[in-house]
Every structure is written in structure tokens, then in C-alpha cells.
């Protein structure tokens, strides 16, 4: 515990806001963001000159070709983005007061960072330094041998610790759940104008889909040999890099951490938005900029609009039907009131990552939140703010993850359903995601996996539409690289975009290894070269909005949204409940 304490402190400092980052800065001036253009020369083409267990050195390629984060800003310029802007009454959705840039271009909007190239940084969307920290103070050091040091040392130079499961989760949560103090809020008006619903987040499976551009501890060769052939100095290195003294139960810890992080994120968001006397009104309440509401000085008069942003979508947004399962199930509070989003509670209230006794204390603090929500329609902001703040603090107390966070006990927690429980779509999705993330580690075997698999598509976790979006993104970037020939007058390069080639890219992206097929390997190398040569160009996607590849990407995104909504609509909680009831029989015996 003594060892952990300073790290907990840093977790707070690092993750609650960017402000503390400034407090850590040695110089008075905020750190400067350099932009992905400075990363790509090393982090695109894994050459073998530098070998490390801990870094793949293909990260930029993965981000640029496969990771939708690199399209975060581009999304604002899409047809849907323009529609949202129009309906919200903004002539341009990229204006700061529209409230989009906090998540869609965080590098250009963080007030605590220095931007000298704001336009490029903005177009990067969620770029490298959005998650890894502004690189001004560490860029020069980080390829030094001496840089292999403890995360807290790196943090002194503003490089964030993204290996710690809690800190990693909190980074994701700051946008994917929200953070009022940083203007990362999806308002109900934004949803109503066309913003896709924020899906439930279980970080391990979320990263899987992203796709992640790192090795999680289970994939690091050293950890595989930990018990046998690993050398002491290698272990020491691992300890520095990961802060671990024993081989980690990686996925389970990440699942547990993300369960706690989404919940504390949600509770903090709610608490922050209930605090009507906060000075940063425009940041916390983008609702203030809505047409017709500009003259409203009194935030309490906006409360229902504000509250809807963190309410449970499906509580209202469902078709009315006879023999409604909600009515048969009953309500935790008064019927007809609007509860908070349910899914962030799902993992934690099942005891995931909690030690003995934790659950009771947490349940008590959640009860106060539910009561505040139930007191009146949309909840009582004062009571809700207070109870959410306290519940958030209770959750954060559990951040030094309990030893319960191993895969087997996690499986047990997840498959123990109260007999009469119905879960809404996002909560079911959260459970399934967690199950899928840990079943391998728990050695649960084929039977369980086969039982889980059909639900992955039904609950919109792993879908053909998502893959189609990734393919469309890859084709778009490749089509841009083909346009920017390396030399004027030279014939423009061509790269394959066939499924086998793109599959090979996915393998490279995951493992760093090139395909067996020599032609394909050569094409991949040429592509990666082109990316390093011209990385800046495709980075900003300077291309006509009606370019076919871009249209295809938009179409793929729209198809994906439609499919997600359809799955949510068709979801039947009775079916999932029946499935969960069968689960205990499929678990490995302890």
C-alpha cells in the first residue's frame, strides 16, 4: 500500500483534468503540442533496428489507417456533422461554442496547452498527444535509453501513464462518458440533432475495437516467460514500465478498472453539471448556447435539458408495448421518473473489482443518488449533485484495485444475476464485453466462448458494419496516399486495397509482423513508407468532401449507426436474462 499511495495521488492529478498537468510543468509556460507529424517517422514502419517488448513502433500507421480517433475532427465536417450544426443553430459546428471540439479536437482546445499549429492539431482529431500528453518536455528524451523509467518520472515531463489500467480507463472516459470541467459533454440537444448515442464503454473490449496500438501485458513476451527464463534485469525493466512486480492479470484488471472509471466519470460529470454556481458555465453547460436559451441566466430553468444528457436513454426512448417488461420488473425508485444512465453502474454494482465490504458501502451511496433522481422528474439537482459527488468519491476510493480483480472471480461476479433482473441494452452490452474480455484469461474454454459469441453481434460489440467502417477508413487514407506522389512528375504510386492486403495490414498493426507473401509484404512496406513521407497530408484529410472514398466512409459510418440502433431496438432483455441464467453452468469449476 505504501508503494501505491503516491501513484494514487498522481492518478488524481493526471486524470481528473488537464489543469493539474500545468501545475506539474516545470516552466511557467504550458507545454506545447508538437503534433503527430513528429511521431510518424519512428512509429509507422517497424524496422527491426530498435527492438522492444514494450512498444510496437507501428502506432501511427494503426491510428491513421484503422483508428477512428484520427477521424474525430473529420466527423464534424461530415454530412451528419453539418446537420447537427444546422439544427443546433450554429453556422459552423467547428466553432468552440458549439461544444464539439472538446472531444473532436482535444489538442486544439485544451486551454492548458500551447498551440502553435492549431489548425493542423485540430485536424488530427484525437491525436497522439491527446492521450500521451503534450510532448514538448519529453519528446527529446523519450527515445533515450534513460527514458526507461518509472511512470511517475515520465509524468514530471507531462508524458501520461497510459499503462495503468485506471489511468488508461479515465482517459477514455473523459470523452466517452464526459468531463464537464473540460467541456466534454454531449448534450441532449446534440443527440436530438443527430449525434450518435455514446455506447457503453468497457475499456478492454473498447480498445480491441479501436483497434489498440499497443501490447497489453498478456501479449508482452517477457510476461509469458516470467516464471521461467526471464532475467532479473528484464523483470526490473517490466517493473519500471508497468509498475508490476508479478505477472499481471491484465485484462481482468483493465475490465475492473474501467468499471470503476466509467462510474466515477459518470458521477463526476453529473455532480459537475449540478453545480450551478461554477464559474465556467460555457464549458460545463453547452446547452447555454442553444437558440432560444441564450437569454436564460438561470441555469435551474434549464435543468431538464441538462439532466437529459446523463439520463438513461432507453428509459424514455423505447417503443411502448403491451406487457412491458419494465412494468413487470418494477422500478428501483418512483415509476415514471428518469434515472441516470444505467450502464456505468452495471459492472461495479455486480462487485467487479471490489473487495469484501466494498459493495455494501457503494450500494448505500448509490442509493442516495437514485433517490435524488427519483425525488422529482429529472431529479433534484442539489440533492443529485451532492450525492453524486459523494458516490463518485466512494468509487474512486476503490481505485487501487482489489485483488479480486482476477479473471476467474470476475467471471463469477458477472454471471451471478439476481433472479429477477432485467438489463437494458447498454448494461447487457457492458456485461457481455467484460465476459468476453476475461474469458480467455480465465481459461474458461470453448463452451463459454461459443455461448458468448452470438451475442457479440446482437449487442453491437463486434459487427460487420464496424469492420466495414475500418475498411472504408483504410481505403480513404490509401487513396489519398496514391494522390500525393513522392516527386512532381513521377508516376503516382499505387497500393492494393484488396481484403487480403488489408487483412495483412491488420496483422501488422496488431503484431508488427509483415505478411509471408513477398509481394504483399513489399506493398505494405511501400505503403508505410509513403505514410512516413507524406504523413502530414493524409493526416488532415485535405480532400474534396465529395471524393468517392470519403463518401464511402460516410456511408459506412451511417450504415453502422443504423445497424447499432436497430440492434438496440431489437434487443429483448428477457432473452439476455435467460442467457445469463445459463451462464454459471458454463463456467470453469473453481
Amino acid at each position: 500500500m505504501t508503494r501505491l499511495r503516491p501513484r494514487i495521488h498522481l492518478a488524481f492529478v493526471l486524470l481528473l483534468a488537464a489543469t493539474p498537468v500545468r501545475a506539474q510543468t516545470p516552466s511557467a509556460e504550458p507545454p506545447r503540442i508538437r503534433g503527430a507529424g513528429d511521431c510518424l517517422s519512428c512509429h509507422t514502419l517497424r524496422t527491426g533496428n530498435y527492438k522492444s517488448d514494450f512498444v510496437l513502433l507501428n502506432e501511427f500507421a494503426t491510428w491513421r489507417l484503422s483508428d477512428p480517433h484520427s477521424l474525430a475532427y473529420v466527423a464534424l465536417e461530415s454530412k451528419r456533422g453539418r446537420q447537427i450544426s444546422r439544427l443546433l443553430g450554429f453556422d459552423d459546428v467547428t466553432r468552440p461554442e458549439a461544444g464539439c471540439l472538446g472531444c473532436h479536437a482535444p489538442q486544439a482546445t485544451e486551454p492548458t496547452l500551447r498551440k502553435e499549429n492549431a489548425e493542423v492539431l485540430r485536424k488530427e482529431g484525437v491525436g497522439c498527444e491527446s492521450c500521451h500528453g503534450a510532448s514538448e518536455h519529453w519528446f527529446g528524451n523519450h527515445f533515450d535509453g534513460a527514458w526507461r523509467t518509472a511512470p511517475k518520472e515520465k509524468l514530471k515531463k507531462q508524458m501520461y501513464d497510459v499503462r495503468d489500467p485506471v489511468k488508461k480507463s479515465e482517459l477514455c472516459v473523459s470523452c466517452h462518458v464526459g468531463d464537464a470541467t473540460r467541456g466534454r459533454v454531449v448534450t441532449h440537444a446534440m443527440y436530438a440533432a443527430g449525434h450518435p448515442p455514446l455506447p457503453s464503454v468497457e475499456v478492454a473490449s473498447f480498445a480491441e475495437q479501436m483497434p489498440y496500438h499497443w501490447r497489453h501485458p498478456g501479449e508482452v513476451p517477457l510476461f509469458k516467460t516470467w516464471a521461467g527464463s526471464a532475467k532479473p534485469e528484464e523483470r526490473k525493466l517490466a517493473e519500471q514500465e508497468y509498475g508490476l512486480t508479478s505477472p499481471p492479470s491484465s485484462q481482468a484488471r483493465l475490465v475492473a478498472a474501467s468499471g470503476l472509471a466509467v462510474l466515477s466519470g459518470e458521477l463526476d460529470l453529473v455532480a459537475g453539471r449540478c453545480q450551478f454556481d461554477a464559474k465556467d458555465a460555457a464549458t460545463r453547460w453547452p446547452e447555454k448556447a442553444l437558440p432560444g436559451f441564450r437569454d436564460i441566466a438561470e441555469l435551474p430553468a434549464l435543468w431538464p435539458q441538462i439532466a437529459m444528457a446523463h439520463s438513461d436513454c432507453a428509459s424514455c426512448h423505447h417503443e411502448l408495448a403491451h406487457a412491458s417488461w419494465r412494468q413487470v420488473r418494477g422500478y428501483p425508485g418512483r415509476p415514471g421518473r428518469v434515472p441516470l444512465a444505467e450502464w456505468p453502474f452495471t459492472l461495479t454494482s455486480r462487485g467487479v473489482g471490489l473487495g469484501a465490504g466494498d459493495r455494501e458501502a457503494l450500494t448505500k451511496s448509490f442509493q442516495k443518488v437514485f433517490e435524488a433522481c427519483s425525488q422529482r422528474p429529472f431529479g433534484d439537482p442539489a440533492a443529485l449533485g451532492m450525492s453524486a459527488r459523494m458516490a463518485g468519491a466512494e468509487v474512486r476510493k476503490r481505485f487501487p484495485l482489489s485483488e479480486q480483480a482476477d479473471a476467474k472471480s470476475l467471471l463469477q461476479s458477472l454471471s451471478t444475476m439476481p433472479a429477477e433482473e432485467y438489463l437494458n441494452f447498454d448494461s447487457a452490452r457492458q456485461i457481455l464485453a467484460a465476459l468476453r474480455s476475461v474469458e480467455g484469461e480465465a481459461g474458461a474454454g470453448d463452451t463459454l466462448r461459443k455461448a458468448l459469441d452470438p451475442w457479440a453481434e446482437k449487442l453491437d460489440l463486434e459487427t460487420p458494419e464496424k469492420k466495414a467502417v475500418r475498411r472504408a477508413q483504410q481505403k480513404l487514407v490509401i487513396s489519398l496516399l496514391q494522390k500525393v506522389g513522392s516527386e512532381p512528375g513521377a508516376p503516382r504510386p499505387t497500393f492494393p486495397t484488396d481484403p487480403a492486403f488489408l487483412d495483412a495490414f491488420d496483422v501488422y498493426s496488431r503484431t508488427g509482423s509483415f505478411p509471408q507473401d513477398a509481394g504483399r509484404a513489399d506493398a505494405l512496406r511501400r505503403l508505410l513508407h509513403a505514410l512516413t513521407e507524406n504523413g502530414g497530408t493524409p493526416m488532415t484529410l485535405e480532400v474534396a468532401k465529395d471524393a468517392p472514398a470519403r463518401q464511402e466512409l460516410e456511408a459506412a459510418n451511417e450504415a453502422r449507426l443504423r445497424a447499432s440502433l436497430r440492434r438496440a431496438r431489437d434487443y429483448d432483455p428477457r432473452e439476455f436474462r435467460a442467457f445469463l441464467k445459463k451462464l454459471p453452468a458454463l463456467l470453469p469449476s473453481r
Binding site: 446537420q83 439544427l87 443546433l88 448534450t187 441532449h188 440537444a189 446534440m190 443527440y191 436530438a192 440533432a193 443527430g194 448515442p197 442553444l290 437558440p291 432560444g292 436559451f293 435551474p300 430553468a301 434549464l302 435543468w303 431538464p304 435539458q305 441538462i306 437529459m308 436513454c313 424514455c316 426512448h317 423505447h318 417503443e319 411502448l320 408495448a321 403491451h322 406487457a323 412491458s324 419494465r326 412494468q327 413487470v328 418494477g330 422500478y331 418512483r334 415509476p335 415514471g336 421518473r337 422529482r376 422528474p377 429529472f378 451511417e558 449507426l561 443504423r562 440502433l565 438496440a568 431496438r569
Partner: protein, 492 residues
Amino acid sequence: MKQTPLFLVPGTGTERFMPHRIGFRCLAGAALGGILWILGVLLVKPVNAEPREPETLPRPRPKLTWQASTSCASTACHGGNVGTAPHGCEYTFWASRDRHANAYTVLLEERSRIIERNLHGDKARPETDPLCLRCHTTQGELHEVAKGVDRKPAAQPPVTLLEGVGCDRCHSTRAGARWITEHYSREWPSMSEADRRTLGFRPLGNLVAQARLCAECHVGTRDADVDHDLIAAGHPRLNFEFGSFRANMPPHWDSRGKKVQQPDLEARTWAIGRLVSAEFALDLLAARAGKDARKPWPEFAEYDCYACHQPLRDSVRNEGKRVPGTLVWSNWYTADLDEALSAGRKIEDRKLSSGLQALRVAMGRPEPDRGAVAQQAASLAAHLRNMSAKLPGADTLTSGQAQDRLRALTARPVNDWEDAAQRYLALAALYHTGTDLDAGKADAATAAALRRLAKQLNFAPGRDAPTTFDARTFSEELQKLHRHLEAAESKP
């Protein structure tokens, strides 16, 4: 006409394509939850009022008692054989066909248990909850059994509860009644309405009086409020429309005589029903918005159910009509209200239109101002009360006016299902009136168009929402009908 079931009023046209064919479950469900008071007689005054009685009374007052509808059921009185219907068979009709007679027994069903459990926990019982009994029985909320939600029900509940909404609920005033022994006396026919009222008799000859009676439960009042908490717990939503409810009841009265006096009865019923319902709805809104802290606010039952209760979609409807993501005040009770008031008589009412507009703006705010809404709604309700009182005496519509109104109503597009349902009901009433006034106005094409409109309003099986409804398609059908009516008008 030979197959016309007796419970439909022959000649009123209600059997033709009245909205029981719409079949939307919420109308039906709401009807099920309805109320009319038993004819069982409530004699005289509450016991605790006795000391104040003047000592000059000629005889001691009979003790307060409850009597069941069976008091009216003698074969020679209202329990006649259905063959002579409806006169003399009122009790028989009610007992055998009218769902008001089941109003109490539904409280014993699983569905009601679920509602009560959701609201008040496992021990609560709908059959002892005063809120339920208020509408599901004859003055049941006053009954000894109605002491609390989790009271153990009496081993043998009184017949006056078991029979649901009986004769007395509608035919007696709420203070009680002692007219049962008088109403077959020789003096009765010559007795003034005021005198009858002092005996507890509730006159229902007037359409406004009837509509007000139904609205007490089917729209709701401060103490009989089907709010969103109750709906979420499982109670059907109330969406009352007097004309269609009256036609579907089934009636145990005969409107033929009335129809001779007032051949525009259909349109008149529609117009009066709309005004009275709106008045009650606005009074209820005033009560909800008022100072009573127990009333939830904003009260979701005031808003369009389907604006929120729809699955998430990838596209935006109603673009530009309002700030995205705000609640929409339901227009079930206010749609086309100006038409209902004027009904062809060219009554222009600035106060109604400006008052409604102000309320719409107020209710469109994220958190409507309770004080302002309560005040505006109460004042508008009072205004409607005055206006509806004038309608029974208004001139009879001409068939030309009825046609004009049909054309006017088909010219406006609709915004949503509620709009569309009210529009259809208005068109049906006006069309019937037109043909009642002038049989030559019957037109197969118009009738078929109305049927098509009604069909669009249907809910899909198992659904309690217009999942397949599209306002644009409905408006197009309206437009087509409008063009047809215009063309028919311009023909010599």
C-alpha cells in the same frame, strides 16, 4: 342496417366508422379505466353534518346508506329484457355490455397489482387505494374500505364496490342522493332541475353536462390524476374524446329524439366534447403546475408520449420546428380547438388562440414556470367553460357549413399522431353531420378516404404506440381528400 347491434344508436351513424374501429388500445384501455356512478342511492347527508341541520326539518333524515345498482334493476324499471331496448333496459345494458360494470374487478387483476406494486410496494392493494377507487367504483373513495393503499381488503367487499362504476356515479351528484323514491312519483316530471338537484339527482340531458361528467375521470381532476408516475407503473394513458367514447360506450339511451331537435348532433357532440375536455385538461394542468408540492413537475403526462417514447433513429424528423431535444406539450386536447369552438359558426376567439400560444411557449421551456403555467391554464380553462356553455344553444349547422368545415380541416397538414387522431375524429363527426343533414351529401369516396385515414392511426399488434404512423403520409391522404372535396364542391 339490419345487423346493427342494439348498443349502437340507430341512426346516429356512430356504427358506421366510428373510432371503435380505430381500435387504438389506449382509447380502449382508457375506457376500461372509466367511471360512471352507481344508481345505488346515497341517501342524504354525511353523519357528521347532522348537528348543523336546522331543527325545523319535518322528519328525521334517513341514515347514510349505500345501495347497489340492483336497486334500479327491477324488470319493470331499468332491468328490462333487451328486446325493448334501450328504454327500460338501462341496467341490463350496463350490466351485460358496459365495461364500466367491470371497473372494480380490473383492480383485482394482475395488471392492477403490478401497477400498485410499482407505485407503493408489494403490500399495496389497488382495491383499497383511494386513488384507484375514486374512478373505478361509485364514490368508492368515500367508502369505509378506502383507508389506505396497503390495507387488507374486507373479506366480503360491499356490492357497491364490486359492481364498479354503477348507476349512481353518473346519475347522482357527488354529495349523495335520495331521489330513488321520488323519480317515479307523479311530481317528478314537473319538478324543476334545481329541485331534483337538491335530491341529489344529476341532470344529464345536456351534452355539456354529459361531457363534464365523463371528463371527471377520463380526462382527470386534481384528485383523480392519471399522471406519468401512474402511467409508467402500468396504467393506460388517458386520451379522451367525447364523441367517440359516447358512441362506443355502448349507450343505454336513445338519441333519436334529440337528433330530431338537433340534427347536427354529431358535430355538436364533437365540438362540445373537445371544449369540455380541453377545459378539464387545462384545469388539470393548472392543478399539476400549482403549488401542490406532491405533484411532480414537469409532469410528463402533459407531453406528447411518442415524442420521447420512440426508439432512437438515425434521422431527424420535424427538423427546425423546435430546439432539438426539448419536450413537446401534447396537443391531444388542444389540436384544432379553434375549429371545435367555431364549428362553422365563424366564432373567432382571440383569447383562445393567444392563450394557447402563450401556454405552448411556456410549456416548451425546459422547466416550465409553475406559477405562470398554473395561472394561464386556469384562466384559459375558465374561458373555455364560458364558451362551451354557449354551444348547446348555438344555431344548428347547415350541411353547407359542415362541408366547409370538412374542406377547412382537410386543408391543414398534421404534425403528429395526436393531431392526426383528433383530425380524423373531427372529420368523421362532420361527415356524419353533413349526411345527417342532407342524405345527398353521402359520398362513397369521402367515406373510403376517411376509412383509410383511420387505418393509418392503428397501432401495430402488441404495440402501444403509433410505430408505423407517418405524419407526412397522413397529410398527403388529407390533401387528396381535400382536393376531392374541392372538386365535388365546384361541380354544379
